[in-house]
Amino acid sequence: MISILLWEIRRRKWFTFWWTFGISSVVALTILPYVSVKEQADELTESLGELSSSAGSFLGGADLFSPVGYISSQIYYITLPLLLIIMVLALASSLMRDETDATIELTLARPVSRTSILLGKLLAGLMIYSTVGIISYIIAYICAEVTALSINSNHLFVTHFICYIFAASFGLLAFMLLAASSRTRRLAMPVTILLSFGGYLITSLAAYSSVFDTIAKATPYHYYNTTKLLTGEIQQGLVIYLALAIMISFGFAFIGYNRRDIG
């Protein structure tokens, strides 16, 4: 398993580097301009108050210029999770591509169990993903200090951490669908994209219509409130969703991969 883990990490060193660089840059370039926004925060909030409340929901709330509102709407509600979802889907797809191009056969022909192969890949993905997460958190923390954002550092850490787990849950879902059976492989990307990006759209549209409001309750984005997270409030619904998504994905991926035909 360790050999597979190291092999997968080594093969994705440039993937890790560029995603870490890209996401950290986005975080820095979004937080640092708050220095100029901070001085006009009251006036900007007043102007925004004239807009409809539903328009603000696309941006993660109506309070966009307070430190919590700014960092929530500009990073943790949309930009960072969506970038991470794209990254984690690319990572899951890349880790499981060896079956499509038949290179998995050389590994499967060795005295290595299917569980070890899948675990090796999963841990490699987790380590790559964690590298991006840790470095971008350090950048976010430094930028928050530089711009004197009055946000509790513990709350910033929890929000960053939950944002990563939230995006990872979609990656795990894709990984599970790719691993579980040859039929679910085809559904992996459409289902995950629908649930993540579609969920965001539906949750945003929920402010306009009660129909969307009902549907939104079935999407993970409904339970993802970064403003609350940044003020130290953790939603129970989000924690239940994350725990279920992780456990179910792990279970199905391992059971399916061990039982099915490969190649």
Partner: protein
């Protein structure tokens, strides 16, 4: 492999049906069949990539089931149309596979193989030609001196010199007592290196026998050119000859009479030219396929 049947999901027709095979130590078994006959499915079942719908697969007597991971420490596998991971060199890939192989890996033999096959180890695998990828595939299959070799189209893409090196490796493995199971479209090659062959058609084993028996039982074919076209009809209706193929004025037949009597029959016709050839495995293979097709 005993009574193994495999249905792919959604298919009503089995890819392999009640297939039973035994490969003995020190034996080279050639597995023949047309495209889609079930060769690759059989190989993938043996390697446990596919799980049989029914039947059982056992290795090394009755020691272990196919899905027991440790069995694969003693198996060397070469996939058909070798796919190698991209963006890595041959050396990196082989080192990785050797690490997965664990203690069973023979470093000295690995070095010897890379020299024999003149492998380009430091080039990225995605820049290698088919032949060079095949060499890496062969090295990874042989490098741990397995007790069983399962090889799908092993000489595909190899030049004649490298094919000879492959035959040497096969011979060495055979001398060590390894069982070798290979599928090939090159019937000449099968005839050259195999001890026994099996022919699969539509998922069923239609023939199994020793190569020595095939060679012993094979009959010569006569290629006869006739002056009169009317004589072709006479030859076709003759009970003394089996028509194998025919062109405009040439007929390829197999006599069913002793040589002198068959020549006597032929002297009655307007024969312009005649060539006697000994049927090779290809003719035998075609014979089994055609016979079954007709039946």
């Amino acid at each position: 492999m005993q009574e193994v049947t495999k249905y792919y999901h959604g298919s009503k027709k089995p890819a392999v049906e009640k297939l039973s095979l035994v490969i003995n130590p020190g034996e080279v078994y050639g597995f023949l069949g047309s495209n889609g006959a079930g060769k690759s499915t059989t190989i993938r079942l043996l390697m446990d990539f596919l799980r049989p719908t029914s039947g059982s697969i056992r290795f090394f007597g009755s020691e272990t089931d196919a899905h027991v991971t440790n069995v694969r420490a003693h198996i060397g596998y070469l996939p058909g149309d070798v796919s190698l991971p991209k963006k890595v060199t041959g050396r990196e890939l082989l080192t990785h596979l050797a690490t997965l192989q664990g203690s069973a890996f023979d470093t000295q033999y690995y070095k010897e193989l890379t020299e024999r096959f003149e492998t380009q180890l430091d080039k990225r695998t995605d820049t290698l030609s088919k032949g060079n990828r095949q060499k890496i595939g062969l090295i990874q299959a042989f490098m741990h001196k397995p007790r069983l070799l399962i090889l799908d189209e092993p000489t595909s893409g190899l030049d004649p010199l490298m094919q000879e090196q492959f035959y040497i490796c096969i011979n060495e493995a055979k001398q060590r007592g390894a069982a070798i199971f290979l599928s090939s479209h090159s019937l000449g090659e099968v005839e050259k290196i195999c001890d026994r062959i099996g022919i699969i058609k539509e998922g069923c084993l239609v023939y199994e026998g020793l190569i020595a028996e095939v060679i012993k039982s094979r009959k010569p074919t006569w290629s006869i050119r006739l002056e009169k076209i009317s004589d072709i009809a006479l030859l076709k209706n003759s009970p003394h000859f089996t028509i194998l193929r025919e062109t405009k004025n040439e007929v390829i037949v197999q006599p069913t009479l002793p040589l002198t009597k068959a020549l006597g029959e032929l002297s009655k016709l307007s024969v312009v030219a005649m060539d006697i050839q000994h049927a090779d495995l290809e003719d035998e293979f075609m014979h089994y396929y055609e016979t079954r097709k007709q039946s």
